[in-house]
Symmetry: D3
Subunit: 189 residues, 6 copies
């Protein structure tokens, strides 16, 4: 299992800000998720990608952090992206404090242990992922009816759009998830 | 024709760097492309998007700038993204100095006035756009056989991936192309 | 850019009626659209095709001539037919007196500068083009509700059906649009 | 079971040439196939359709008449056109003198009692019917390798294209096959 | 036309219960349907398959035997399974006492001579066959509204599911229908 | 989370052989997998299903038991069947002694930690699951080239076919996996 089809630079060769980010995530998680290594040989793209990621995934707002991860897992499964399903599945289990929900959302969100509001959210996210040309006023009406404000709808759509990019980069690079992700969040504390 | 389903801030309200970028593009083009206005109410996402865009579209490398725009037009047409087909079609006509090539690439690249190398490039870009899970070693072999280095292949894939995001944001916002784009690059100088 | 994969006869060799038709269109347009040349080596099919075309496209009725061309452009784009999108896009721009509408209808009719009635018309035409087995009474109800009489509905469906044929002949022959079409109707008079 | 969603004129009201054609087919077949009645209220389209039909289906050439009907049955089944599968299935059984071949070609031509040359022919015809944009030089090479001349390839493609139109008209009108067709050609003489 | 890609055992070599079943069907039908021969080299799978078949197809209940065969024909046609369309088409004609209904249901059930209740039944069966993940409460409501009890809905779904298996085994083995099936039930008694 | 949309009988009401089977699996696993409960109200179908299952999944032969489970997981994921992906994913982890392989095979077998022979096996199994009409001699040649005998190819195809049935029953019943399955086989012994 290699990390990527493309070069993985040595940590020492990296620009300072990128090395710092990688060391910080290693400190926090205990390992370096492969996506940081796979993108590092392109510093400008690395910076843009994680800036975009943080702007959508780390912000406050109408969506909980678990809900943001649900969108990632559901749309990444639709794109058959192994890295994102496994890595963000782990984060989803931790944030939702539910060891089953990631597998459920990845395979069939209709049968997952989630709320009707979250079902509506994932239905829209999957439309953005798979047939975005079909998005129309009717979709906005449904989401508003389920309690989403317009800023929330933007977040749902934008997260699905960002992982449309991310899933494609993972397929381009044949990126592999770190073994640590598979078990994270599955055991009771 | 409205610009977006979401708020368009006043120029005066924008952070300085974003206002500066918008004024610069207006200066250069004579108008403000709607994508700048549609993303401006989310400054962090605006900055990340254009940083990503510039990293891939403005760089030097094995792909010409016209070729980069061909990838945008072909994949955006596959996603039925009106804004990107019209706006980047204009840029493609200008960069390729060919008033027909954008319409050709948008409808059916197999019949376009492009080189066999460009056909191979667009075939791969469309695979990234439409069925990225199918990308395999055979695709890399074909592209290397057509003269692309690995850094070029990354560029082709990453541009297709970025516009997978961009096209989805355009559909989410119902973004309209500026009327100016339709005619740009169609007339002999 | 060749006109067709199949033989293009000399004008002098053609039956009188076909030569006359070709000379007439040349007189009117200033050039001979390639479809006339590509079909000419099969005189009986040439005659049947243009008889069918004229019966549907030149007649009076509930649809304007611009609307008839919209159907051609939308369904030909769904079939990725370069010849028909470019040639009929030109005619649509001229008949609708709108230099943007053909590009809009080709990429995404939902975002085009057209009326709700025309949106309903194109939705039905695209169903005829793409999944005709799904046509049902509900579609007829919708169109009648949008103001179409049954003779108009026949016209919408029959035009979509004729260009299902036409698009396939263009792909079979690898027919190229004449360069003149690309700019027609784009400039203010 | 009505014949069509649209008007069926009285025989006496029809233009002389159309009435004559209908009476001739009734004389020959013992009944009037519904397609003649469903198109009759549009005399110009009726004339163009049958002129096109005769030009492709009644001509001499490299394809036998049974092979022409195979193309109709296979592509009409792909379009789920009940009228054309049943009516042309009957003609195919008669022309091929094989009471099973129409059902086989309609369901799965790969398992039909036909020659490898006919398999290649139907594979191409179905590509014209379903994904014509994919037609390329490789398809022509295969057909030439299977013994088809270019005029034959035109015929295969043009018949598939004509029934792309015909199948759509049948779905538009909800045309029903005459009961007589179901049994024709199934019994040994 | 061979019966299967896999071995066909001699009758004398078969376990007693399997030989008895084959002789019984031969006695009743006058020939041995090929499915019995194609599965016989795997006695345990043979027994399980026909036990499943009899449990669903021979039972009493809210569905008539003709309706059970309609489900088989419609879903097998969606899977392009020649054996099942032809063999069960024959049984459907006999049980429905209608020589046309099998061809109609195979090509386009919407235009078949069946009741609205049967249209609803086939719509659900085709959903089970083609996109089972989409089954939801709304489908159950529709079927109950059309007069189906829950035990009937199970039967509709289970028959579609069993022939999802059966159609795949027929494609795996390249199973051919016996010639006798093509004409069965087509002639008035 | 209910077990099924359909009735779940009391253990005491069940026929003796079915109760015995359920008690045996409970004894062995520590819990009763929901599929046993969901099918129990139809004893004949229950017996046929598990007889088919055992005939294919418990037998000796050219495929290991882990390989048989891989086929189940890959095709069930293609059908988005939550029950089968989670329950058979657990069995696959145990039989393959690999805590990651089930997630990998479910999302994208091309990137799984499996052998080239197993990749070829899953490619064929997915063809049986998704487009069985396309199965041809070329597929058999590839599998034989990868070391599979004809009896093994039957097993691959038949397992994919059986779970085409099983996945559809799980969607029909809205069957939920038991919570125990999610963690099974994920921890080192």
């Amino acid at each position: 299992m290699t990390i990527s089809r493309f070069p993985i630079p040595e940590l020492a060769e990296l620009p300072e800000d990128i090395r710092a980010r990688i060391l910080a995530v290693q400190e926090k998680s205990g390992f370096v998720p492969n996506v940081f290594l796979a993108l590092a040989h392109r510093p400008d793209e690395f910076r843009a990608f994680f800036a975009y990621h943080d702007a959508l995934m780390e912000k406050e707002g109408g969506l909980t952090k678990a809900e943001r991860e649900m969108i990632v897992v559901a749309t990444s499964a639709a794109n058959q992206c192994l890295y994102c399903v496994v890595a963000h599945g782990a984060i989803l289990r931790i944030r939702a404090k539910n060891p089953r929900v990631a597998d459920q959302v990845a395979v069939d969100y209709r049968k997952a242990e989630i709320t009707p509001r979250q079902v509506a959210m994932l239905e829209f996210a999957l439309k953005v992922a798979r047939e975005p040309v079909e998005i129309g006023e009717e979709d906005f009406r449904k989401l508003r009816g389920a309690g989403f404000g317009d800023a929330d709808i933007w977040d749902v759509g934008a997260i699905a759009a960002l992982f449309a990019l991310s899933n494609r980069m993972a397929h381009l690079t044949a990126m592999q998830p770190n073994p640590e992700f598979y078990l994270l969040g599955r055991l009771p504390k």
